[in-house]
């Protein structure tokens, strides 16, 4: 186990849908000094259950602790680590980007949206809102490029959701 190398790690956590669960999980991370880079929450397959996807930074020992400590929260039903390698997992994040435009930058941004297969979901005379979905690296690359052409006013990101690919998750189950 590596004590020193920090890396980013995704855990998928199935929880009972009870009041205060999110707070408990957030509390746990704060209390143990774990760093969350992103967290997303939504309903899971079964009624009464929700799935949290949490991205954390830490060395192997810390990641192991995070998984074990999560299990100690009574409402946590299952903690599934997501494979670190992109070949073994799928990951998606969505971002809405509100950007100022003028005649010149408009074209550049439209081009970027096309290359990145984003969507324009709102347009006005001097601004628009763009939707972009993909792995986080893609979302980030897109934001960087947009930034260099126009003035970004606001960004809203969902945080990552992720799953292990079919073969891996079957073996796991």
């Amino acid at each position: 186990m590596s004590e020193t190398v920090e890396h980013e790690h995704i855990v998928s956590v199935l929880v009972c849908n009870k009041p205060g669960v999110l707070r408990r999980v957030a509390n746990l991370f704060a209390r143990r000094g774990f760093n969350i880079s992103s967290i997303s929450v939504g309903e899971a397959k079964d009624p009464g259950l929700s799935r949290l996807t949490i991205v954390v930074r830490g060395n192997d020992r810390i990641i192991e602790q995070i998984e074990k400590q999560l299990y100690k929260v009574i409402e946590v039903v299952k903690v599934s680590p997501i494979a670190p390698s992109p070949e073994k997992r799928v990951e998606r994040e969505m971002a809405l980007i509100k950007v100022q435009i003028d005649e010149k930058t408009k074209l550049e941004i439209l081009q970027l949206v096309e290359i990145f297969r984003g969507k324009i979901i709102d347009v006005a005379k001097d601004g628009m809102i763009v939707e972009i979905t993909g792995a986080r690296s893609k979302v980030e690359a897109f934001i960087k490029l947009v930034e260099s052409s126009g003035k970004i006013v606001e960004i809203a990101r969902t945080g990552i959701v992720a799953m292990n690919r079919w073969n891996l998750s079957k073996k796991e189950a």
């Binding site: 929880v15 009972c16 009041p19 074990k68 299990y71 100690k72 039903v77």
Partner: protein, 567 residues
């Protein structure tokens, strides 16, 4: 409804203080007078520590009943104390009515929020219908797996609401399934290591007391002839072969206990969490040993030290499995070696002709009190002297706040222990500082005429901090001198408790003899030598193999604390 659930859970004793947001529950209590005993304390912290002392000494969950707001927040230190030492409590707090929640109503506090990091679980009840299930879960979660406190916040409006009481027989909590059975392959690996070891050592932790497995562990030690040490929470072992027992380890452990850890080639750690007070510098902890770690909480394994063989499971199951193995092992050379170190570096103290040594009091109490006595120590030097000089031979017989180090713990915890063990002697040993933190509970002793025995070791100082200031801060005694202590014997007598005040070494044995034989509650106020330090001491973060073996007296302390001259 609450009390119907308590009945099903065989709750016999309840600890608490009433108030506006729990008044309906207290009203109902009157109808259950014949079925359970209620004990009124003078402070909710006292009630909570008492429930904790009851739980630690009996193994049954301690039940606390308090009001909202300040009643609830007053339990916080008690809950945190129980949480750190894995003690099963069920704390019921009143809450303002459902409709008032969130309005900053009178005595409203978000106690589930406050207590989240110091409870194993907590819950704000939102309907009468869920109450039976919630209560059943509370007792189940508090007492199973790694035990711990559970808090249930019960709004006033639900205390009077009518509902059908159907107590669930079985529980299905999707996210809660403690692993109790140790993995056979890991157990086998551990046994293989034992077979090949020349210098094995068992470290027994609080888990041995919590799981009620000291008798199994004693058997295991005697069967294979393995030496054993314990953490502060693991006292109470009694292998037939006394040579196998090497005392406590850690910051104030015996030299030979820590020597055993440093020189062992195999450590079998049972129900320990490798706290920093035990390991010192974790890198220099047991440098030559492979480590087998057995614990019911998987999160403890690998948390503080690297482990070679992890075994997740209940000690009862794992020790039973260990005992099934048979192999010839001969660790006699190792035992011999340890015996020699024990003889060359014993735990001792020097008596003084004028001043009582606190260790003398503890060691005399250990001789005079019956072997099944439950001792509750407070926090500080007194706690360490009890750990060093009181020989505990029974499980659940030494109560102290190990993880949180809560001053003021001993007196109420001792009361709780007496309530749970009316036929055993209960001895409270506290320092003058900590004793004053819950001194109001002397009233509780008198109210219920509980024959608790109390010794206050008065060194006119916040002794442990004073010791650190002497050793690490160049004798600058910042805010640690208590030269204005009251006469605790007079206070006790005023409350209605028999008391003696002693200051000469010759008085020690006589006073303790009276204390043991007293049928009533009794207190001894012992004025002890303020200069005394707890030795050996491993400086924080240090190497447990290299403790300080002596600490000279600071000549100024007598003057500062008692206004007396050093000879």
């Amino acid at each position: 409804m609450l009390f119907e659930a308590f009945k099903r859970e065989r709750v016999e004793k309840i600890f608490g203080i009433p108030g506006g947001a729990i008044i309906h529950v207290y009203d109902e209590l009157c109808s259950y007078e014949n079925e359970m005993d209620f004990f009124l304390f003078r402070h909710e912290q006292g009630a909570t520590h008492a429930a904790d002392g009851y739980a630690r000494s009996t193994g049954k969950p301690g039940v606390v009943l308090v009001t909202s707001g300040p009643g609830a927040t007053n339990t916080v230190t008690g809950i945190a104390t129980a949480y750190m030492d894995s003690v099963p409590l069920v704390v019921i707090t009143g809450q303002v009515s459902t409709s008032a929640i969130g309005t900053d109503a009178f005595q409203e506090v978000d106690i589930t929020g406050v207590s989240m990091p110091i409870t194993k679980h907590n819950h704000l009840v939102t309907s009468v219908e869920e109450l039976p299930q919630v209560l059943k879960e509370a007792f189940h979660i508090a007492t199973t797996g790694r035990p711990g406190p559970v808090l249930i916040d019960l709004p006033k409006s639900l205390q009077t609401a009518e509902g059908e009481f159907r107590y669930p027989r079985k529980l299905e909590i999707p996210g809660y399934k403690p692993t109790l059975v140790g993995h056979p392959r890991q157990i086998k690996r551990a046994v293989e290591l034992l077979k090949n070891s020349k210098k094995p050592l068992v470290i027994a932790g609080g888990g041995v007391n919590l799981s009620g497995t000291a008798h199994l562990l004693n058997q295991f030690l005697d069967k294979f002839g393995i030496p054993v040490v314990n953490t502060l929470m693991g006292h109470g072992l009694n292998p037939q072969d006394e040579r196998l027992y090497l005392g406590g380890i850690g910051m104030h452990g015996s030299y030979y206990g820590n020597y055993a850890v440093v020189n062992a080639d195999l450590i079998v750690a049972l129900g320990v969490r490798f706290s920093d007070r035990i390991t010192g510098d974790p890198k220099r902890f047991a440098p030559n040993a492979k480590i087998v770690h057995v614990d019911v909480d998987p999160a403890e394994i690998g948390k503080n030290v690297q482990v070679d063989v992890p075994v997740v499971g209940d000690l009862k199951n794992v020790l039973e499995e260990f005992l099934k193995f048979d192999f010839e092992a001969d660790y006699s050379e190792w035992i011999e070696e340890l015996q020699k170190v024990k003889e060359s570096h014993p735990l001792t103290y020097e008596k003084h002709e004028k001043f009582i040594k606190p260790q003398h009091v503890v060691e005399a109490a250990s001789r005079y009190f019956p072997p099944d006595t439950v001792v509750a120590a407070d926090v500080g030097q007194n706690q360490m002297w009890v750990a060093q000089f009181y020989r505990f031979r029974n499980p659940r017989s030494f109560l102290c706040s190990g993880g949180l180090g809560t001053m003021g713990y001993a007196l109420p915890a001792g009361i709780g222990a007496k309530i749970g063990n009316p036929h055993k002697e209960v001895l409270v040993i506290a320092g003058d500082g900590g004793f004053q933190m819950n001194i109001q509970e002397l009233m509780t002793i008198n109210r219920y005429k509980l024959p608790v025995k109390v010794i206050v070791l008065d060194n006119s100082a916040l002794g442990m901090v004073r010791q650190w200031q002497q050793l690490f801060f160049g004798c600058r005694y910042s805010a640690t001198v208590l030269n204005d202590n009251p006469d605790f014997a007079k206070i006790a007598e005023d409350v209605g408790i028999k008391a003696l005040r002693i200051r000469r070494p010759d008085d020690v044995e006589g006073a303790i003899d009276v204390l043991v034989h007293s049928k009533e509650p009794m207190l001894i106020h012992a004025l002890v030598d303020p200069r005394e330090n707890v030795i050996p001491m491993v400086p924080p973060g240090g190497d447990i193999g290299q403790p300080l073996l002596s600490a000279p007296y600071d000549k100024e302390i007598l003057q500062k604390t008692r206004g007396e001259q050093d000879e």
